[in-house]
Amino acid sequence: MSKQIIVPFGPQHPVLPEPIHLDLVLEDEKVVDVIPSIGYIHRGFEKLVEKREFTEYVYVAERTCGICSFIHGATYCQGIEQIMKIEVPERAQYLRVIWSEFSRLHSHLLWLGLFADSFGFENLFMGAWKTRERVLDFMEETTGGRVIQGTSKIGGVRRDISSERLDRMVKDLDVLDREMKELTTIFLHDDSIRHRLRNVGTISREDAYHLGAVGPTARGSGVAVDLRKTGYGAYDRLNVPVVTDSCGDCLSRCTVRAKELFTSTDLIRQAARKIPDGPVDVKVTGAPDGEYFMRAEQPRGELVHYLKGNGTKFLVRSRIRTPTLTNIPPLIKMLAGCDLADVPVIVLSIDPCISCTER
């Protein structure tokens, strides 16, 4: 006596900007079984290291993902710099921090919008993306690209930001802060939203940790993991607060991201205050020989670029382990027993970036 409904969720589905698919088995609207399947974006560009010189692979690495493009590029470059023992100029490191944090703002605002959309709050979606345009404007003004910045380079960055622009940027941040304050207040306090998020997709601290959750997904469950604390780039000279929340449900993850918006603007201010003058890049000669696991904090969590060179211009292996990949097992746990209406909310609550995940 079956009372089941099978819903093929995705690959084409309006709530998924990127294709994944889930086979949802429902009883009424209760999800009794969910089997995810990915691979719709697997391009296999990790193998491109065999065809592109390591200096040009930067452009490929940047296009791993359209949302955190800069961080991918920078992490790759930092990994190569580690192998080749290149000392990157201070200013470049600060600029990387600034752009990384702007990437994070961009990503989190984008996510807030999509998240609002997933529970049917269209106006909030529009509001979040309206604010996000401010971040993108800054990005375009300083790098020339809205979403694919293209300023990473081994040995530094490709563009400098003038000090006047930095001053203006700090002033603009106040406006941004104000708008984000308004947005996040609604997010965290509106009861209709809390009704949709509280106690939905809950995952305990232990589960989150042992299932390998990273980034806001882990921090929402109270696991204080933030790779910026390892002090790569210029982060060791900045005060990085780790935002956590203890409930482990969708609202907690939302809270973490909402608060991180402000830590990001704060980090940008710190960096703008401390940034020294000087060159933004050094000349790179030779080829990488050796291996390194470069870990960095992406908006979605811990990103690992494993790079292995053998002394030629072509790397042996580039392996990108993205936060979403490791957040998928916790996601499966979260989805068990939720309602159909919660599925998009929970899926989005880990902020999935499938194009990174599948490379």
Binding site: P19, Y59, M126, V147, S355
Partner: protein
């Protein structure tokens, strides 16, 4: 100008794109660009759509869904390939799992270059598509059957 041109509804499919173009399509819906000015609605359902906005270089697993989504759009319909991955495979052209461009799978009417394609560029692309949509409608009227492949035929 017919109604078709005043109310193009879109459906978006991400055929292994890097996300850049996708979020720009979404950005085009949001206040700063607001394509609803032109009557464009992101329907999310191919059966309601007129225009397929497609991003990404099409990998092995995406071929079938892409074709399926295309087939489910009722005639007249146009396909707009957004971004250079969708147009030619782009930087990922040489990857083992990439077919290289939407037009390898389904007929493409408009190519929108850019990496990532800017929202303005996407608007331009859709506007260009409107002209083609109108031609297809006329062709459908005169011939009695749609200009492209019929929806059911391909199965």
């Amino acid at each position: 100008m017919t109604y078709l041109q005043k109310s193009p509804w879109i459906v978006h499919y991400n055929a292994s794109s890097c996300n850049g173009c996708d979020i720009e399509i979404l950005a085009a819906l949001t206040p700063v660009f607001d394509v609803e000015r032109f009557g464009i609605i992101n329907t999310g359902n191919p059966k309601h759509a007129d225009i397929l906005l497609c991003t990404g270089s099409v990998n092995e697993q995406n071929k079938v869904p892409l074709k399926n989504v295309y087939d489910q759009i009722p005639e007249p319909k146009v396909v707009v390939a957004i971004g250079i991955c969708a147009s030619s495979g782009g930087i990922f052209r040489e990857c083992y799992n990439v077919s290289g461009g939407i037009d390898k799978i389904i007929p493409v009417d408009v190519y929108v270059p850019g990496c990532a394609a800017r929202p303005e560029s996407i608007i331009d692309g859709v506007v260009t598509a409107l002209g083609i949509l109108e031609q297809k409608r006329l062709a459908m009227q005169t011939e009695g059957s749609p200009a492209g492949t019929k929806a059911g035929e391909a199965r």
